[in-house]
C-alpha cells in the first residue's frame, strides 16, 4: 500500500506556503522546493517550448545536467527549474525560443 505523499513519508513540517506567480497567475509554493517541484505540485509539467519545433518541455534529468527545464524567473531567462529554489513573490514565466524575447 502506498502512503499519502512524500511529505508524509519524510514527516515533513514545512514552513508556511507562500505565493509566487506563473505567467501572472498566483500559485502556492512550499518553502524549500525548487521551481520545478512547485510547478509539479501545481499540476504543471511543462514551462517552455523549444526553439525550432515549439515543443513543450519540463523536467527531464532533474539534476541540472540536461537543460530541458529552462524557465524565466524574475526576468532572468534560462534558469534550470530543477535547481532554483523559490522565494515569496517570485515571478515565473514560461519561455519560448532562446528565452531572450526572440
Amino acid at each position: 500500500m502506498s502512503s499519502g505523499s512524500p511529505q508524509d513519508l519524510a514527516e515533513a513540517r514545512p514552513e508556511p506556503a507562500f505565493t509566487v506567480t506563473l505567467d501572472g497567475r498566483e500559485i502556492e509554493a512550499v518553502p524549500g522546493r525548487t521551481v520545478a517541484a512547485a510547478l509539479w505540485s501545481a499540476g504543471v509539467t511543462s514551462w517552455r517550448t523549444t526553439r525550432v519545433g515549439g515543443a513543450p518541455r519540463g523536467v527531464f534529468c532533474g539534476i541540472g545536467v540536461c537543460y530541458d527545464c529552462l524557465v524565466t524567473v524574475n526576468d532572468r531567462p534560462n534558469q534550470r527549474a530543477c535547481l532554483v529554489p523559490l522565494h515569496p513573490g517570485d515571478a515565473i514565466r514560461t519561455q519560448e525560443g532562446t528565452g531572450h524575447d526572440d
Binding site: M1, S2, S3, G4, S5, P6, Q7, D8, L9, A10, E11, A12, R13, P14, E15, V30, P31, G32, R33, T34, A36, A37, W40, S41, T45, S46, T50, R51, V52, G53, A55, P56, R57, G58, V59, F60, C61, G62, I63, G64, V65, C66, Y67, D68, L70, R76, N78, Q79, R80, C82, L83, V84, P85
Partner: protein, 468 residues
C-alpha cells in the same frame, strides 16, 4: 606549527565526503566545493532545510553511513580543518606552476565568480544518467529515473499520479520502490535485462552478499506495492499530445529484438527511464588527465596522471555509492600523505583497497548484465528527436552518416548540430554514437558549466596580474 597543505575537493557526494574526512583527519586543510545547498551529492541528496523533514531516512538507504559522513564533515569544519562551500558551481580548474585555481560560479543564479586556490585538487564530480531515445521520449512527464528520485529526495515532490519505471540498471529498483512508497501508483517496472544473467556470475554475487540481500528486499517491496515486474521488456513508444498519457511496452527475444505481438499499453502520466550512468569527466579532461574510455584513469592511490590531481567516485568509473566511499577514502589518505611529505603506507587503507577491488568487480558484472536492448537503434525512427537541445532527429543523424560520410560523434555534431546545445552532448552522446555505429569518445568541454562572458573576461586576471 606549519600551515597545513590545502586540498580542494570538488563534489560533496560519497566520494568527496569520504575524501574530505580522510584528508582532514591526516593533516590536510580541505576546501570542499559543491554545487548544492547541502552535502550528499545524488545518492545522499537531502531535502531542503525549509521542508523540516523529521524522517528523511525514509527516503534513503544506508542512512547511518550518511550520518557518519555528515557528522565527520561537521567536526572537521568545527575544528577549522575543512571549509564547505555550498552553491559553488565549478566551471574550470586551472593548473598553475605550483598550485591550482578552482573557478566557480555562485548558485543558483551562477553569475558571480569565485576563485579558490589550492595546492592540490581532488575531483569527485560524480556521474549522470544515460538515456537512449525512443519515440515520444521528449514528452513532458518522461524523465530520468534518477531525476524522479532527485526531485523526491530533494523537494519531496512527485512527478504525477501513475508511473512506469523503465530502462535498465540497478537504479530502477530504488526508484520504483521509492515512488511507490511516496504515494505514486507504479504500474510496472520494465527492465530490459535478463535476470538469469546474474546466475551466470555466482562468484561475484557471493562476494557481495549484502547486495543480494538488498535485491531481495526490493523484490519484496515491489510485490507489496503491486508493481508489475517485467524483465526482458522495453518501452517502444511514449504516447501523448502535450504531455505523457501512456506507454507501449514489448517483450525482447534472446537477441535483444522486439517480439512482435507482445506489445502492451500502460496508461500513465509519468515515465521514469534510465539506461545506466555516465561519469562527469570535463574538469579532469580539460586539465589533461588521461581518460580510459569514458572514465578518468587513476592509479592505486586514486592519482590521475597530472601531478597534484586526484579523482575518486563515479568520475573514475561508474560503480555506485559504496565504491565511491572506498575510493574517496583512499584518495584522501593518499593526498594527505603526499601533501604532508610522508611516504604513503597502503597498509593504512588495505581494507578499503580490498573493498574497492571487490566492488569494481561487482560493478563490472552489473555492466555486463544491465546492457540496453541490442535493438534500441531500431526503435529510433527518422522523426524521433535524438538531440533534445537542438531538436535533431534520427533521420538527420543517419543522413550525416550515410550521405555526408560522418563516422564519429564529433563529425556528426558538426554536420547536424547534435550536441551543440546547452547540455553540450551529455544527453545525446551515447545515442549519436549508437546511431553512427561508433564508439562514444569523451567530449572536450573546457567549460564544465556555461559561464557569463563578463565573468570569463576577468577569470584568473588577479593572479596573472600578481605575477607581473
Amino acid at each position: 606549527m606549519t600551515e597545513r597543505p590545502h586540498l580542494a575537493v570538488i563534489g560533496a557526494g560519497p566520494a568527496g565526503l569520504a575524501a574530505t574526512a580522510a584528508a582532514a583527519a591526516h593533516g590536510v586543510r580541505v576546501t570542499l566545493l559543491d554545487s548544492a545547498a547541502r552535502a550528499g551529492g545524488q545518492f545522499y541528496r537531502q531535502p531542503a532545510a525549509e521542508l523540516n523533514a523529521r524522517r528523511p531516512q525514509a527516503l534513503h538507504h544506508r542512512w547511518r553511513t550518511w550520518e557518519r559522513l555528515r557528522d565527520s564533515l561537521a567536526r572537521h569544519v568545527e575544528a577549522g580543518h575543512a571549509t564547505h562551500l555550498t552553491d559553488h558551481h565549478v566551471w574550470f580548474v586551472e593548473r598553475r606552476s605550483d598550485h591550482f585555481t578552482v573557478h566557480a560560479l555562485l548558485g543558483p543564479a551562477q553569475e558571480d565568480p569565485v576563485e579558490v586556490r589550492a595546492d592540490a585538487v581532488l575531483i569527485a564530480t560524480g556521474g549522470y544518467e544515460k538515456v537512449l531515445p525512443f519515440p515520444g521520449w521528449t514528452l513532458p512527464g518522461v524523465l530520468t529515473a534518477g531525476g524522479a528520485q532527485a526531485m523526491l529526495k530533494g523537494s519531496l515532490a512527485v512527478p504525477g499520479r501513475t508511473a512506469v519505471v523503465a530502462g535498465t540498471g540497478p537504479l530502477l529498483l530504488p526508484v520504483a520502490t521509492g515512488l511507490a512508497a511516496a504515494g505514486v501508483e507504479v504500474a510496472a517496472l520494465v527492465e530490459s535485462a535478463d535476470p538469469k544473467a546474474f546466475l551466470r556470475r555466482p562468484r561475484v554475487l557471493a562476494a557481495q552478499p549484502g547486495k543480494v540481500a538488498e535485491g531481495a528486499q526490493y523484490a519484496a517491496q515491489l510485490l507489496r506495492h503491486r508493481v508489475k515486474l517485467l524483465t526482458r521488456h522495453t518501452v517502444v513508444e511514449a504516447h501523448g499530445d502535450e504531455r505523457l498519457e501512456a506507454v507501449t511496452v514489448a517483450a525482447l527475444d534472446t537477441g535483444g529484438r522486439i517480439r512482435p505481438g507482445t506489445e502492451r499499453r500502460f496508461a500513465c502520466d509519468t515515465l521514469a527511464v534510465g539506461h545506466g550512468m555516465l561519469p562527469h569527466t570535463d574538469l579532469a579532461e580539460t586539465l589533461g588527465c588521461r581518460l580510459e574510455g569514458l572514465r578518468v584513469h587513476v592509479d592505486d592511490e586514486q592519482r590521475t596522471d597530472v601531478p597534484g590531481l586526484w579523482a575518486a567516485g563515479e568520475t573514475t568509473g561508474i560503480g555506485g555509492a559504496d565504491l565511491a566511499l572506498t575510493e574517496g577514502h583512499i584518495a584522501g589518505r593518499s593526498a594527505a600523505a603526499r601533501l604532508t611529505g610522508a611516504v604513503p603506507d597502503p597498509r593504512g587503507w588495505a581494507t578499503a583497497a580490498k573493498s574497492r577491488t571487490r566492488l569494481r568487480e561487482f560493478s563490472a558484472a552489473l555492466d555486463a548484465v544491465y546492457a540496453p536492448p541490442a535493438c534500441w537503434t531500431d526503435l529510433v525512427t527518422d522523426d524521433t528527436i535524438v538531440c533534445r537541445c537542438e531538436e535533431v532527429a534520427g533521420g538527420a543523424i543517419r543522413e550525416a552518416v550515410a550521405g555526408l560520410g560522418a563516422g564519429d560523434v564529433r563529425t556528426v555534431k558538426l554536420l547536424t548540430r547534435a550536441g551543440m546545445g546547452w547540455c553540450q552532448g551529455r544527453m545525446c552522446g551515447p545515442a549519436v554514437a549508437g546511431l553512427a555505429g561508433c564508439e562514444l569518445t569523451p567530449s572536450r568541454r573546457p567549460f564544465a558549466r556555461p559561464v557569463p562572458l563578463g565573468v570569463l573576461a576577468h577569470a584568473g586576471e588577479t593572479e596573472d596580474d600578481e605575477h607581473q
